[in-house]
Structures are given as C-alpha cells and as structure tokens.
Symmetry: C2
Subunit: 323 residues, 2 copies
Amino acid sequence: MADVGALAGVSAITVSRAFKTPDKVTPELRERIRGAAQSLGYIPNRAASALAAACSMNIVVLIPSMTNLVFVDLLAGIHEVLRPRGYQELIGVTGYAPAEEARLLDSYLEFQPDGLLITGLPGSWQRLQALGRPAVHMMELADHPGSYSVGLSQEAAGAVLARHLLARGYRRIGFVAAQLDPRTLARAEGYRSVLRAAGLYDPMRELLVPEPSSISLGAGLLDRILAQAPDCDALFFCNDDLAQGALFRCHRRGIAVPGDLAIAGFNDLPVSAWCTPSLTTIATPRYEIGREAATMLLELLDGGKPVERRRDLGFTLMARESS
Amino acid sequence: MADVGALAGVSAITVSRAFKTPDKVTPELRERIRGAAQSLGYIPNRAASALAAACSMNIVVLIPSMTNLVFVDLLAGIHEVLRPRGYQELIGVTGYAPAEEARLLDSYLEFQPDGLLITGLPGSWQRLQALGRPAVHMMELADHPGSYSVGLSQEAAGAVLARHLLARGYRRIGFVAAQLDPRTLARAEGYRSVLRAAGLYDPMRELLVPEPSSISLGAGLLDRILAQAPDCDALFFCNDDLAQGALFRCHRRGIAVPGDLAIAGFNDLPVSAWCTPSLTTIATPRYEIGREAATMLLELLDGGKPVERRRDLGFTLMARESS
DNA sequence: TTGTAAGCGTTATCAC
DNA sequence: GTGATAACGCTTACAA
C-alpha cells in the first residue's frame, strides 16, 4: 500500500481511503491511485484489513449437507445477497450431527465472523447468544425470544400433505423417514396430528430410520414399510430422495403408482416433476429463504432491528400424478 | 492471548507456542495454558495469525457450479483432505463463465490463499503462474508445462462410450450437449473421432446448445434432436441430467428405451442407476479427484515436488439397460 | 524451555 | 481532503 502511495505521490492511508471510502478522496487522485495499484499489481490484504478494522467481512454459514440440493439452493440465495456487499461466506457442513455443528462453530469462530447463518435451531443456542454476534436461523421458524429466523413451518407443511392424501381418498397412509433431523420430525408431527384428527393414525404405518437419506435407501425402505404394513394405500416420504427411490422400486416390483399405492415426497427436487408418474410433494422456497435470511443478517450488521424476527415464507403443495 | 498468558502465569508467546507447536512447551505448562484459555473463552484470531505468519491457511477452490453433484462430490473429497490439516476452503462458483472466473480469482486473492484448486484449465493461466502460489487443476489433465493436474481424459471417456454404443449394434448415434464447457467439448471430440473412424459420423446427428444443463432442458433437447435427425437409434448426452430428462420425455412420448432409441449419459449421478430403464453412463471418480488434488496441493505447500504432475484417475463405463 | 522486541499490512483517531 | 501515529493480535527472529 505504501508502494502504491509512493507511485501515486500520496501516503498509504490515502490509498486505503481511495479503496474503502472513495468519496473521501478527490476523484482525480482516486484515479491516479487506482492506476498505480493496477500497474503494481497491488492486491489488498484482507487479513490486515480485518485486524485493523475489527471487521472480517466473513459470514459463517452452517448447513447439514451439501449433497442435498435443498441446501445448495439455500447457499445460492445467500450468496446472491452477500457477495455484492463484499462479504465472504465460510461454509460449514455439519452432516446433521449436533456435535459436529458445535465443533465447526468453534473452529469457524477463529475467523472472527461478523455474522452467522445457521440451518435450524442448534443446540448451541446459549453459546451463540453469548457470542454477541448477529445470527439468523434458516429453514425453520424459531420460538426462542431474541432469535431471528427465516423459514417455514415444517409441521404445517407435513399436515398439508397429509390432508391432501386424505382428500384424494387414501385412508391407510404411512409415513417413512430417514435422517431424523428436527425438520423431519416436525413433518412427522404434522402428519400424525392430521391422521389422529381423522381417526386414521396407526403407528404400524410409520417407519423412521436414522441413516442418511438417499435414493437407494428409499428403495429399501419401500420394501420394509410394505413388509411391515402391507395394507398401506399411500406413503408420505419425508423427502424427495426417499420418495424417488420408492417410486423407482415400485416400477421394478410392478406396483402401480398411484393405482396400488400413492407416493408423496417433500422439497420438490428437479427430478420429481419429470419422473413417471410425476411426484406429489411440497415445494419449499429455500432460495428465497437464503436471500431473506442474508438480507435480515445484513440489516442486523448495519445496526438495524428487523421488524419481523420470524419470517414465514411458506410452502406450496405440488399435487401431481403419484397421488 | 496476553490475558490467557497472565492467567497461566506465562507470556503471550508461550500461549502461541502451546497452540501452534505444542512440543516446544512443557506438557504440564501446556495443560495449564489450555485450561486458562478454556476458562477465559479464548478464541484465536486467524487474521492476526495470517498477518504475522504470512500464511493464511486459506485454499481457494474454483468450481463451475454447485447445483451439479459432480462438483459437490469434488468439494467433499477436497474437504476430507484439507480440513484435518486446518486449511479453510474458500469456494468460488464461476457459473462456467471464464470472465467470472477471472473476477473471482482476483477477489479471492485478497485472502492471500496459500494455494489454489481449480476446475479445468482456466484462461487465466498466465496470471496463475505469475502468482507464484501452488495450484492444482482438477477434472481434466493439463498439458501445460509446469502445471499440476488430477483428473481424467474426457475425450477418452467420450470415445469409450461411443465405442460401447457401436458394440451394442447402434449405427446412427447422435450426440447432444449443453453448457459447452471444455470438458463437454472434449467428450464431443471423443465421440466424433470414434464415429468418424467407423465411417458413421453425421453432423446432422449432433446438437450443441449453450444453455445450462438441466433435466427439463434434456427433455426439450430430445424433441429437438429427433426433429432434426429422426433416424437416430442411439443418443449420447453429454451428462446425466440431460440424459435423464430425455429418458423421462421418452416415457411420455411412448418411445421405448432402448428398443426404439438407446440413451446414454455421463457422470453417473445417483438417479441414473435407479430410474427405469437404468441409464448407461460413464462413472467419474470426482470424489477421488478431489482427494488426490488436495493431497497433491498439500505436498506442494510442504515444499515437495509431486512425482506425477498429471494424475490420471480414469473412469468406468456403466453399461446399463438404456443401451 | 521460556521471554523480549519488532513487525506483519491495514485502518481509527486525531491533526493539519 | 490529506497525513502522522498508534494500534489490531499474533508470530518470527533472537536472546536468556
């Protein structure tokens, strides 16, 4: 920076200003400095800047998985908002494990993040509060006082899907889930409350396993739930990966969908609209959630107080051929 | 750090050593310092560390897309190797655009990365060289002297798939591609050379469009290529997304696969093994490529000279029902 | 094995 | 509008 200043005939601090607060420097001088920086191949050092300004321009983003398109879309939304403002996301993948989440949080704190975007409501809530850094929770809606969140009611979405199956005439509706994270369990609760209210809830028609979701697991779980409750006339899978696997397995087993068995998923991944039969599911606005959460965080970083602490972006039932 | 030292009854520098080079500190003292740090909630400042040590522990990773599972797998492989060594990946998504790649590179340079992992062979090759920072190219094999790369021959893979279709008896084999990045074009070259050698190449059976790949685009391109070259008996799609879309479209149009038309893709995404008919494709070892590239970069960072500058990890033909 | 002094590249503060 | 000075929190010498 001193070199650039020397070449431009000014001091280092003026170079700093020319970049960070251009309006505090004469336009003519600003150009001269930019030219000097260019010709010297000057690259600002963000570590030094962070140290001196006590502001890292880093935002920690914690998601459970990156192979799940849902969270990739979430990241894209976040990125679209944060990048133009010069913030850098530090992406941590927790693998749906609270312990790993806590570990990751600790290690990312070394980057002195200016703010945090966190998927769900982590166990480390106390710790987060104590940090005194702004944080916004994504995908779920937080109840905790003082927390900020952007998402949807997973339970309500589960209930809507269950009600849809009832409305289509199905009466022996099963529920299959894997990767039992809080959002999945909330969907299960939505399903249960609706079936109970209809007097149709039967725990035998529920299958919950802890393994990570995948298409191949969905295929396996279809076999297991049909062995356990052969009379099911519809199955609500907690996500599209499982539902797709089940659908493909039905093809192979000669089970007609929805004739013999209706199938529904959750999230509306790209394949779901195109496979045969197309998959009934719940579309979640994860891209918008990412954008809104990042926007809310920026507001907090700017010292503002968002009017809505809990922003509900809803969901859409995609009633398709599989039900 | 001074506070931690004070509590433990030592100076700040000893605290630094207790964390960075534990073997240079008495075990007993080390424990006392860790205890003090714990009770004070001390969090090391990486910006300060980077500044003082002239080593940021940041690795810039440039990929074209994050919605493409191929690159997510690549990232996972990289992460598995880099994380245990304390490196932080800064992930840049170029959107397959060379101009954006150059811009991203510039902006990530401010983080003073210790090394770079780059998908493909960027136009900014000169610039990269000039940086004097170790860089490893991924997915393709670099020809450039002085470069390091881990990947596979996309052209050879394209040729193998084309030969497979010939071997299965198809004679009017078309090629459909989108997102015309260098890897896609290399696959096209492999296809062309094989068909030409067999005297079966016909440019009318080729359809190349610049739009981003997606399932829905694949469906559309199936219609277009069949309108353009209705006599095709097999179609080689440049990736699985397009091939899946085409497969789903065939279902809807009542085109029997492979009876009326064989379909093949590239990359072997999870759905491809499970859809009906299952999709013939080329499995690429992107997870291993990520791991090996990161390992090679670590070797360079440690001052070593990898024996292989060009590491070919190959590919596997997955001959399935769709052909 | 531990401590001292100096400096990493930038910005906040206060002056001019 | 521009400049001098002193930090920011840590680590590399070098010394003890």
